[in-house]
Amino acid sequence: MSLALDIVTITAVSAGAFFFLAGTVGLLRFPDTLTRLHALTKADNVGLGLVVLGLLPQAGSLRGGFKLICVWLLVLAAGATVSQLIARAALASGAGGKRGHSTVRAARHDGPPT
């Protein structure tokens, strides 16, 4: 049983670390602000969620595990809100980059492409 829990921990934390790697690479390599925001806010929250999932078997008590989940939920809600706010600020200051700027503007005015 302990071995199974350890395997769950190793698998989930490794996957979480991989998502952090993906988020960082996206932040460094993507061409403009909005694509970087896209890479960062999704990959990081999934990475944190997988790390929390991996730590749950090691939490020891039900209360400790519940607290870990609460941390993740708070980060999820905050990350979703903040990513929208940052995207709006980047658009308003015209710093979305040429491609991201024009495509998002077009989508906002004409609706999604069909």
């Binding site: 980060v75 706010l85 980047a90 710093a95």
Partner: protein, 92 residues
């Protein structure tokens, strides 16, 4: 298990260090703020792993506080940035 979690902790910290390159290169303030948000999220993951390694339960509270602080830092950035933006009249 402790060794593995320490290794994962070091790896995530290395990712945060790489994210600092984006703070250095910019080009926009929003990019730098995103790197700060990466440090917030990754710092929370690192703190939770540290709590698993050391067995100190208070690290979870520190992670919660960091989550709040990272959020408010981003909101402060947006409010400052939106003060002179034409599209957000509600910020005046």
């Amino acid at each position: 298990m402790t060794e593995f979690m320490t290794a994962a902790l070091g790896f995530i910290l290395a990712m945060l260090g790489l994210g600092l390159i984006r703070v250095l290169r910019g080009p926009d303030d929003a990019d730098r703020m995103m790197a700060a948000q990466l440090i917030g999220t990754g710092g929370i993951a690192a703190l939770l792993l540290l709590g698993g390694v050391t067995g100190v339960p208070a690290t979870v509270d520190v992670a919660l506080t960091l989550a709040l602080l990272a959020t408010f830092a981003s909101i402060a950035f947006v409010k400052k940035d939106g003060a002179n933006a034409p599209e957000s009249p509600e910020s005046r």
